[in-house]
């Protein structure tokens, strides 16, 4: 097919090809440039940040901004909190989703269809922000990290996709387990879940990125600023320009502008580190989620 295209190449076509490569490369660069700027800025001195508005490489290399935030107890606490909440939250959410998807994948389970319809309803309709807030409040979850994990524990879309995946696994394997005397609990744990690792990994990433990036839940449910996650901390520094939260060493003048750059870099770093996996698995996940017939 590619060769066919070349055979019927025209001059106009070739000009277009060059134009196309240039244009798309420019689009790619636009996606990347803000990061390069922020990374460069995080290593620059305050004087440079005050005088040069744009650069991709700092003139004088400085680690002052990172020193300030990495010696800030509030910032370290926010990082550790966010990592823990993301790890524990992802495990809980994935486990809940998989254990619910398995019984729903059994078409002969009495009541299964009713539950499935109840799940589908939640895809198009929800109680809204305030009633959800009141549920969290009435359960006494305000100002606890559970509020960041439990209200979003099962994503109905993920649930349905995992259920569909379980359904198309070969039934013979489960039958063999049953004959060997295993109950469904053991079958799920020993046979179904190990067979589904790639799919589960994809949804684990979905959940992990969701928790790491979540800003709305901590905004709604965490009043105590000592409990804040990285996203809340970031907003306080960059959007609200409140550097008091960093609580940097007062004996040295903290690099106010550099701190903003450095906090953005740290908040983005894990996403960039995991990006190769994210790209591969998310693209796949998005396509199973939407094109599946």
């Amino acid at each position: 097919m590619a060769r066919e295209k070349y055979r019927f190449n025209t001059r106009g076509g070739r000009v277009f090809d060059v134009f196309n490569v240039v244009l798309l490369s420019a689009i790619g660069v636009i996606a990347l440039v803000p990061f390069v700027f922020v990374i460069a800025g995080s290593f620059a001195t305050e004087a440079e940040l005050a005088t040069r508005s744009f650069f991709l490489w700092p003139e004088t290399f400085s680690l002052r901004a990172y020193e300030s935030i990495l010696t800030s107890p509030a910032f370290i606490r926010a990082i550790i909190t966010t990592i823990l909440v993301t790890a524990v939250g992802t495990a809980i959410q994935l486990l809940l989703t998989a254990t619910m998807a398995y019984p729903l994948s059994k078409s002969n389970l009495p009541g299964g269809r009713v539950v499935l319809y109840a799940v589908i309803v939640t895809l198009v309709f929800g109680g809204g922000m305030i009633p959800t807030f009141l549920v969290v409040k009435d359960l006494g979850l305000l100002d606890t990290y559970w509020a960041l994990i439990l209200p979003l524990a099962i994503n109905p879309f993920s649930l349905i996709i995992i259920k569909n995946f379980f359904q198309q696994l070969p039934a013979e394997l489960e039958e063999a387990a049953k004959i060997d005397g295993a109950n469904e609990l053991q079958t799920l744990w020993r046979i179904i879940l190990p067979l589904s690792t790639p799919v589960l990994a994809t949804f684990a990433l979905f959940y992990a990125v969701g928790i790491w990036n979540d800003f709305m839940s901590p905004l709604l449910y965490l009043n105590d600023s000592s409990m804040w996650t990285l996203q809340m901390f970031l907003r306080q520094v960059t959007v609200a320009t409140d550097l008091s939260i960093v609580d940097a060493d007062p004996s040295q003048l903290p690099p106010a502008q550099g701190i903003k750059f450095a906090v953005i870099v740290v908040a983005t770093l894990p996403i960039l580190l995991f990006y190769p996996f994210l790209q591969k698995h998310f693209a796949k996940g998005m396509l199973i989620g939407s094109v599946k017939g």
Binding site: T10, A31, F125, G126, G127, G128, M129, V209, L220
Partner: protein, 326 residues
């Protein structure tokens, strides 16, 4: 094509018939259910979750018709009928919120959506696979960043005086605009963020559709002397039309769902007039000011209109070419 519908197979596996003999099934309801006990046990945590965090709030939404007093609780707070809805519809906030929300949705529909299709078409025309893959790798990155990071980048790039984009645009226009607080620049910046974050990622679904276009049609068109643009116009676009329509339908159902986080982070005292949308208004009225019932009424109105829009758009899409999403 069904997205929401399940592809339920009614295959009762061979073992169920073999292992569970008929006699056992007839033993009665209790015996019947006991064979499913492990499955019900597995279902239980999920059921509790949906009852608590999905259906709980739906029940709680009845406070839209009550005067919710925290110490009385949802059940015992007094009913007030549609008073909160009447208050909302007659307040000057309503037309303003509606206009702000619809304008943002419309901008996204006419600017961001076509841009995604065009980018996908351009990527599809790339012949060098290396370039294609590198560009894709780059333009997918912003999708994974939180709105907090995107907002932070925006605040740096558009910072007063020193921000690179502030200097660039003010330099070109010869103006002295403060982009982050100027109400006239709120919408362009929101659309810009939206494009930067989501255009690349949005191309995935179109690229998948483009990959499945029958290549024989192209070969036939080439032999008939069709140029490149003619091929795109007469073959490529018509063959991804169902995808375009489905996504358009999905987006129309989301018209009132301006992303809360994005708008909230870009809202400040000076641009509230154009920035307030239903989602952020619910937050400010409910959480900041504590008017639980009133803000729940606003949220409920939004949710109900949202459901109507989804089904309405789906109905329209079906009438067009039988490819609804339900």
């Amino acid at each position: 094509m069904t997205i929401l519908g399940s592809t339920e197979s009614n295959a009762v596996t061979a073992t169920e018939v073999l292992v569970v003999p008929h006699k056992k099934r007839r033993k009665g309801v209790r015996a019947h259910f006991s064979q499913f006990k492990w499955l019900y046990l597995l279902l239980l945590p999920g059921l509790i979750y949906f009852a608590t965090f999905r259906y709980g709030p739906m029940y709680g939404a009845i406070i839209a018709f009550k005067d919710y007093v925290p110490f009385l609780g949802i059940q015992d707070s007094p009913w007030v009928g549609f008073r909160h809805f009447e208050d909302f519809f007659s307040s000057p906030d309503f037309p303003r919120l509606l206009a702000n929300t619809l304008i943002l949705a419309l901008l996204s529909l006419v600017v961001a959506f076509p841009l995604t299709i065009v980018t996908a078409l351009l990527l599809n025309e790339l012949r060098l696979n290396i370039v294609k893959r590198s560009v894709q790798t780059l333009i997918y990155i912003p999708h994974f960043l939180s709105w907090t990071v995107v907002a932070s980048l925006t605040y740096l790039l558009f910072a007063l005086d020193i921000g690179p984009l502030t200097q660039l645009i003010n330099g070109v226009l010869g103006t002295d605009i403060s982009f982050l607080t100027d109400p006239a620049w709120f919408r362009p910046i929101i659309v810009l963020q939206d494009i930067w974050k989501n255009t690349g990622w949005g191309t995935i679904i179109f690229l998948a559709a483009l990959a499945s276009v029958d290549t024989e049609q192209y070969e036939a068109a080439i032999i008939d002397g069709a140029g490149r643009f003619q091929r795109v116009w007469h073959i490529t676009l018509p063959s991804i039309r169902p995808t375009i329509i489905v996504l358009l339908v999905l987006q129309m159902g989301q018209v009132l769902n301006t992303g809360f986080e994005q708008i909230y982070l870009m809202t400040n005292a000076l641009n509230r007039q154009v920035a307030d949308v239903f989602d952020t208004y619910v937050y400010f009225m409910g959480i900041t000011q504590g008017s639980y019932s009133y803000s729940t009424a606003v949220g409920l109105f939004k949710a109900v209109v949202g459901v109507i829009l989804i089904f309405g758009a789906n109905w329209i899409a079906r009438r067009f070419n039988q490819t609804g999403i339900f």
